[in-house]
Amino acid sequence: MIRVVHYINQFFGQIGGEEKAGVAPKLVEGTVGPGMLIDRLLGERGKVVATVICGDNYFAENPEQVAAEIVPLIEAYKPDLFIAGPAFNAGRYGVACGEICKRVRERLKITAVTGMFPENPAVDLYRRHAYIIETGNSAVGMAKAMPKMVSLACKLLSGERPGTPREEGYIPRGFKETIVTDRLAAERAIELLLKKMRGETFETEITFPELDLVSPAPPIADLKNATIALITEGGLVPKDNPDNIESSRATRWGKYSVDELRDLGCHKFMSIHRGFDTTFVNEDCNRLLPVDVIYDMEREGLFKRTFPFFFATTGVATTIDNARKIGRGIATDLAEAGISGAIVAAT
């Protein structure tokens, strides 16, 4: 028999509305409110052994700590399955459902399922941590959502592989799985082309997220008094690679002395980049980062000063998330140092 613990907020727990949103977690044996629907759907297969009720504000004020308090309450009932909500479009309730599902899965290693309206802000926070069944935006959607939650939970418990989001009704978790189809990719491409040419609706297999467009900074107004920094994604690091910059798919960046690069060059530095032939760079680092020319220009008075450090990372197959993080890190450092402009030597 499947033992279920169910989580709901003060409203569905029949304690009260917004005025009772501050109530502390409380445990009730058996079902309360929507838990009865779970019992009915499970029938002979199992039942709700306990219900945890917590005020939305109480949880939202200190989510991590409250979640850590609630997990042992759940554990005491030795459940096979944890069901939270559904939270519909309620933001604080959604966070509570998501956070507890996440912890229950991590700590108790049991199946956890919840339900939310796709625009609930908690969806983005937790869709990777638990299956979230898509619901309507209010409690009117209960009768539709709960059967999907229970059915998916039972599938997960039996070890059966769940279907696609569309088949099961869950919100895409942000994963794409590689699968074996029954048609050659080339054949699928030809069929897709003919559909597109006939003006029929067609479905792409790859979609893109929205991208930021970065507008370039305005030109430096007073170049004569400017400080210029050097940056490269060419993997130029000291030979012992003290910051463990990856040779591809980088997650890190380093900050090194321009003077040392000028004086010691390829005695001290080398490119660890795996996306191009580094032979010529490793013969003379100026071929990647033109320190020689920069100092000439500084001497000629084209600008005032070369920033004494250069920044390096490896730009090959880097994920955009990591590239953003690296870019922000370097830009913050430069902004704090009051740099007027930077030259990025790309490979």
Binding site: K176, E177, L193, K196, E205, F208, P209, A317
Partner: protein
């Protein structure tokens, strides 16, 4: 332009006294073939092994794959590479269908692939269904990796023609005719489609050859589909992972070209192929994409095109620029590409470049996905795979991008991805 493809279906390959083909059995005199292929100072040693579909065999360090072929009315193939320059795509060609020739070797700097002939791994590549004749070589001491690659190329192509020669003057199991000519007026109601074939062109040992010349020497050029199916283009890039290049096998059996050729006159009017290099600077890419789209629109006069890329993330830029240029001229465009989604498939950005015009893309899988392969009884091609897997005998886990034609950029794979 009429090409008659004579298929000789190989059901089994065995070693024997005389190299011959009879009733589905290909017999190879191993010593004679080794002797015939040896003598290149860049290769230290060579052995030949055979793996059949379903056998519990793992094949490692695969650097290139080709197929046994010869012209029916002459003794050569691969014009400009192995044979003299002649126009591919006409006359008669004999093919030992069902076999593949694997060029195998391990050397620092080259990244070979791995294929299992049974179990889970066999689902990932079409080459678990071909009978694979493996040329297992060792590089000469100190040889330059690119030179080693060229030596393997010569050996692989020579073996291809040597083996196919056994079919000379025999009757084939099946004949397929490739000819785009149709009586006047019969094509007028069919959608006019083309294929834009991007070829890697990133320098020494990183580019295929067209009629014996590096892809970087070419600007976008029209080829008759038959030319591609008949050996005009040969994979010659060894300094690029096996699974992110088009093997010669996938070029002469190109699934997009075959698919469109076989639909020609019935579902589509297949107008031709444009090949285009993948240059290294954006200015050049703008130029090649403009020219390729122009050839498709105004010379081939197509209304729809499929574009495929070859190579790593850099070439996503070529793919998107070509897509923009084609859609910009009103050509409906479909792309084929592999995704980069990280080990768990959770990456947010599937490609290294994107464009709002790229609204119809077929996925050939997440190249980063980890595949778990059970132990096999026998390993061909060495006990290690480049610098990645320490021992190949037992259970191994490795990224999909190590499986040749796993993520086949030419579309020669059953893989895709699914949102979960």
């Amino acid at each position: 332009m009429r090409l008659e493809m004579n298929y000789f279906d190989v059901k089994r390959v065995e070693f024997g006294r005389k190299t011959q083909y009879s009733g589905g059995l290909l017999t190879i005199n191993r010593e004679e073939l080794i002797e015939f292929l040896s003598g290149d100072p860049r290769i230290a040693s060579m052995d030949i092994a055979v793996a059949h579909p379903g056998e519990r065999v793992r094949i490692a360090n695969i650097l290139e794959i080709t197929e046994a072929r010869i012209k029916g009315d002459d003794d050569h193939y691969y014009p400009g590479m192995l044979g003299p320059i002649y126009r591919a795509g006409e006359g008669v060609t004999n093919v030992l269908r069902g076999t593949a020739i694997f060029e195998i070797g391990a050397i620092q700097g080259l990244y070979g692939g791995l294929i299992d002939m049974a179990d889970d791994g066999a689902l990932l590549t079409i080459h678990s269904k071909t009978i694979n004749v493996c040329l297992v070589t060792k590089p000469a001491q100190g040889v330059d990796p690119a030179e080693y690659g060229y030596a393997l190329k010569r050996a692989g192509l020579t073996a291809s023609v040597y083996l196919a020669k056994v079919t000379k003057s025999m009757k084939s199991d099946e004949v397929e005719v490739f000819d785009l000519e149709r009586p006047a007026g019969t094509l007028s109601n069919l959608p006019r489609v083309g294929y834009l074939f991007q070829l890697h062109s990133h320098g020494e040992s990183r580019e295929p050859f067209i009629y014996g010349e590096n892809s970087r020497r070419y600007y976008p050029t029209i080829l008759h589909p038959n030319e591609v199916l008949d050996g005009a283009i040969v994979c010659c890039h060894y300094n690029i992972s096996t699974s992110i290049k088009n093997s010669t096998y996938s070029i002469v059996n190109h699934p997009v070209i075959l698919g469109l050729s076989r639909r020609h006159g019935k579902e589509v009017d297949f107008r031709g192929v444009v090949i285009s290099p993948e240059p290294t600077s954006l200015a050049e890419i703008s130029r090649t994409s403009m020219m390729a789209a122009g050839l498709l629109k105004n010379t081939l006069k197509v209304d729809g095109v499929i574009i495929t890329k070859e190579g790593g993330g850099h070439t996503d830029v070529d793919l998107m620029e070509n897509c923009n240029a084609c859609e910009g001229l009103g050509i409906k465009t479909v792309l084929i590409d592999n995704e980069w989604l990280g080990l768990d498939g959770a990456g947010e950005f599937p490609l290294l470049a994107c464009s709002p015009t790229a609204d119809a893309i077929v996925s050939v899988g997440n190249m980063d996905a980890i595949v778990d392969l059970p132990a096999m009884d026998r390993v061909i091609g060495g006990q290690n795979l480049s610098d990645f897997v320490s021992s190949l005998q037992g259970r191994i886990a490795l990224p999909l991008r190590f499986i040749p034609n796993g993520i086949s950029q030419a579309g020669f794979t059953y893989l895709s991805t699914e949102i979960r």
